[in-house]
């Protein structure tokens, strides 16, 4: 069993404490916006926020997330109002297949919390997610746009 707070909701999940947070989010909490890409924290598709920081949930045991505030892509918007990063993603038409974008958006939202006006160098250092469609040019434009929003 694990008690998690995901997107502000306290959940009692029937899960082995060693299970990676990613799979508890997807398979026990039923939130499938967070993706599996590699399982070894290389690609960033599984990025969520834990107490406001971006973490790669595929290598994080669910036990270590207990008592923390977990935010997934489903919890980023405020009601029907998209987060400014999501808004910029729509305006700049960032996603291609879109599979990695939940993780990319969560990583960017955390970056902007730390660095509200990131330079290109900040972006290069802070965003290390893999996108095989290759959306990086739009990702960069959209980050700068979100920073101005």
């Amino acid at each position: 069993m694990a008690r998690l707070t995901i997107n502000g909701k306290s959940l009692e999940l029937k899960v082995d404490p060693s299970t990676p947070l990613l799979w508890a989010i997807r398979e026990q909490a039923g939130l499938t916006g967070t993706k599996y890409g590699c399982g070894v924290a290389m690609c960033g598709a599984c990025t969520v926020h834990m107490d406001g920081k971006a973490v790669r949930s595929c290598v994080l045991p669910v036990a270590s997330a207990e008592g923390k505030q977990i935010t997934t892509i489903e919890g980023l918007a405020t009601g029907a109002t998209l987060h400014k990063v999501q808004r910029a993603w729509v305006d700049y038409e960032v996603p291609q297949c879109g599979y990695c974008q939940a993780g990319m958006i969560m990583a960017v939202a955390a970056l902007l919390k730390d660095k509200p006006k990131p330079t290109d160098a900040d972006i290069d250092a802070g965003i290390t997610n893999i996108c095989r469609c290759g959306t990086f040019q739009q990702v960069r434009e959209a980050i700068h746009a979100a920073a101005k929003a």
Partner: protein, 724 residues
């Protein structure tokens, strides 16, 4: 624009469903009985359903996997339909429906950059036919001639009286009409939607986590499966000790899958994977257990000098020309196996009962998935159905191959009545790929005393994709797809005229299964040819652009894109300090493409690709903003490949198992990409793949200028080069 004639009951376009095992013609289902969508809305024809609330549902068979095809096809239907774009939405027909209705939607295959270029005509006709019927229905209701009516933005107007009605109001009546025998398509000059950078239709759900990919699917009572196939291709399962894991949490079944794989079926996928990792499996590795990258490379090397080879192009006397040349240049290049590595690993969900087999799968080819479902289930077509789910990338892995569908059905057959979702781990995805083929090339050229290219021999040696995948498509044993970009004519025409030319292929197949990988064979052919052209220019002492131009007078469209990037880059003018430029151009998938890369190399091994200017002439540009995104994205795929990606073989198996050994570009490494979209009209070229092939040779040519060293084997990481 010509007026196409439609024989209304048997309009047939020869679109062979390559690989699908289904070769029916394309028939637009015309008739007086109304066909209805699931929600009861009338279907005007196969492509167009109009709901009473005015929603226009455009149905197309090609798959959207990020490349924008669905939006582009909808633009084309809506253009001829005169639909209000704000009311347009899309949906996929199912392969089962398609087969039952004699393939009204044509080819489902979404590969070869064919999505738009090969379906544009029939989807536009579909839109135009529906428009004529809607207008006729309104005219009938008013008792006026249809010729007095016009349509725009889903509104029909009777011009003399000023009366108006809407598509939603006349759809029911329109669906009962006999379709027109022929329709006139618009002149491209009249296009209002085609050619505009309209926002894609599928963005919002991708930023909220709401979009359901195959891997996200949930069905009532569904179990999850993890699988391991013999890592040595061609090997089999010798045995496995199910009892060792059967008591683990969540585990329901441990089952053989065919003769080469084992799956664990559990409540959750994570439980299935943990049990699979703990499951003792012994393999019969078969005859390939000793094969390595070195033995494969040796076999290819032998082919470079072999007497026998499949000849694609032979002009003049190459051997004589090169033997008598003032200067001879020779170089050997080699290109590795590469994995598609889409972000979403392979998966499929299947539910089997004795009289129905259903499959939900992210696929580039619904019909090929359907064919795999039929074969694996043993059920006839009317008892099978495939539902296409969104793809987390395809890049060719999900087009011709549906091994994961076969596996999912085989697992589901062993738990009848229960839906089972099979998901591959990344490790499984990496070692069970359908790899970019290995290829070597020996390039030999002869220059006359003035530095003109008088003879060129391009000897390819390596794998044939067609021999492994579609042997029926070989021509007298020759795999013409091997020669993409250096063909004498067609969609992949060589852009040079060389008086003595020989292009041939010594086919050397391996046990590692090859596949169509975004760009396919033109990726390596562009490197071989365009890097060697720079080597020849250097030997001739001629500027690389001038050297090419002298060979291109009969190839004006190739030349136009090359000139466009050279002009934009300021080729011939000094670059900023430390910046070096390189060029490349090809014709690929029906489009003419060129790139000029600007590169800096610091510390001898740190390569910064600063900017790439890319030009493409795809004939018509349906949605320029999406074309720009495909260009930039294709460069990420192509540059990741040339810098980082290689699958090596040891003891018959692929060694790389995840992104820690098979890296991919990050945003820090992304060059600034500037696109020049210059559609010249009169033909339809592809978009998703063509530009990928010019990124690598343009960068390599710039690197050679920066370092004075020519690299001929890939990836560049093997030479110590890092992309920064």
């Amino acid at each position: 624009m010509k007026t196409p004639k439609i024989d209304r009951r048997s309009f047939v376009i020869g679109t062979a469903a390559v690989g699908a095992g289904l070769t029916l013609g394309l028939k637009i289902p015309f008739g007086a009985s109304v066909v209805r969508a699931q929600d009861g809305s009338p279907e005007i024809n196969a492509w167009v359903v109009i709901r009473p609330d005015e929603t226009v549902v455009v149905r197309v068979a090609r798959s959207e996997m990020g490349q924008g095809t669905i939006t582009g096809l909808a633009q084309m239907v809506a253009e001829e339909l005169e639909a209000d774009w704000k009311k347009v939405t899309t949906e996929y027909p199912t392969p089962g429906q398609s087969v039952a209705r004699k393939r009204p939607w044509g080819n489902f295959s979404t590969g070869g950059s064919r999505g738009i270029r090969e379906s544009n005509e029939y989807v536009r006709k579909g839109g135009a036919t529906a428009r004529v019927m809607l207008v006729q229905a309104a005219a009938n209701a008013w008792g006026v001639p249809a010729a007095e009516c016009s349509a725009a933005n889903s509104v029909i107007t009777h011009k003399p009286s000023g009366r108006t009605t809407t598509y939603g109001k006349v759809a029911e009546a329109a669906a009962k009409l006999t379709p027109p025998a022929e329709v006139t398509l618009k002149d491209p000059k009249e296009w209002k939607l085609i050619g505009k950078s309209i926002k894609r239709l599928d963005t919002v759900d991708k930023v909220t986590g709401a979009q359901v990919y195959g891997f996200d699917l949930k069905l009532p009572g569904m179990l999850n499966a993890a699988i391991k196939e013999c890592p040595v291709f061609g090997g089999k399962v010798k045995g496995f000790e199910a009892a060792k894991v059967q008591g683990m949490p969540g585990v329901k079944h441990v089952v053989p899958v065919g003769d080469s794989a084992v799956a664990v079926v559990a409540e959750t996928w994570w439980e299935a994977k943990k049990a699979l990792d703990a499951l003792p499996i012994t393999w019969d590795e078969g005859p390939n257990a000793k094969v390595s990258s070195a033995t494969i490379a040796d076999a290819l090397k032998e082919g470079l000098g072999a007497d026998q080879a499949f000849v694609r192009t032979q002009v003049g006397d190459v051997k004589g020309a090169i033997a008598g040349a003032a200067k001879k240049v020779e170089a050997v290049y080699a290109y590795p196996f590469q994995n598609h590595a889409p972000m979403e690993p392979m998966n499929a969900t299947a539910k089997y009962t004795a009289d129905k087999c259903e499959v939900w799968v992210p696929t580039q080819n619904g019909e090929a998935a359907f064919a795999a479902t039929l074969a694996a289930s043993g059920l006839p077509a009317d008892k099978c159905e495939v539902y296409k789910i969104n793809l987390g990338g395809g890049f060719g892995r999900r087009g011709a191959f549906h091994d994961y569908v076969t596996q999912a059905v085989r697992i589901a057959k062993q738990v009848p009545g229960t839906p089972v979702k099979l998901l591959w781990s990344r490790e499984e995805d990496m070692v069970q790929g359908r790899y970019h083929p290995v290829m070597q090339a020996k390039m030999s050229g002869g220059l006359d005393a003035s530095g003109n290219l008088i003879g060129l021999h391009m000897r390819l040696s390596g794998q044939s994709i067609l021999a492994a995948v579609f042997p029926q498509n070989l021509q007298d044993g020759r795999d013409n797809a091997t020669f993409q970009g250096v063909d004498p004519s067609g969609d992949f025409t060589l852009g040079y005229t060389v008086p003595n030319l020989l292009i041939d292929h010594a086919m050397r197949n391996t046990h590692v299964p090859p596949g169509f990988w975004r760009g396919v064979n033109i990726n390596q052919n562009a490197i071989f040819l365009e890097c060697f052209m720079d080597e020849l220019a250097l030997a001739a002492g001629v500027d690389a652009l001038e050297f090419r131009r002298k060979l291109m007078s009969k190839h004006p469209k190739h030349l136009a894109v090359l000139n466009a990037v050279a002009d934009r880059a300021g080729w011939g003018k000094p670059a900023p300090a430390g910046v070096h430029r390189g060029l490349a151009h090809m014709m690929a998938f029906g489009s003419y493409v060129a790139a000029c890369a600007e590169v800096s190399v610091t510390g001898g091994d740190k390569v910064k690709v600063r900017r790439i200017i890319c030009a493409t002439d795809p004939g018509y540009a349906v949605n320029p903003a999406q074309i720009e995104r495909q260009i930039a994205g294709s460069f990420v795929y192509g540059l990741s490949a040339v810098f980082m990606e290689e699958c090596t073989v040891k003891d018959g198996a692929i060694e790389q198992t995840n992104f820690n050994t098979y890296d991919s570009m990050k945003i820090a490494q992304m060059p600034k990409v500037e696109s020049i979209i210059m559609p010249s009209g009169g033909f339809w070229g592809g978009v998703g793949e063509p530009t990928i092939c010019v990124a690598a040779p343009a960068v390599l040519n710039a690197m050679a200028r920066a370092t004075g060293k020519r690299i001929r084997t890939f990836p560049l990481k093997n030479h110590g080069y890092q992309m920064v």
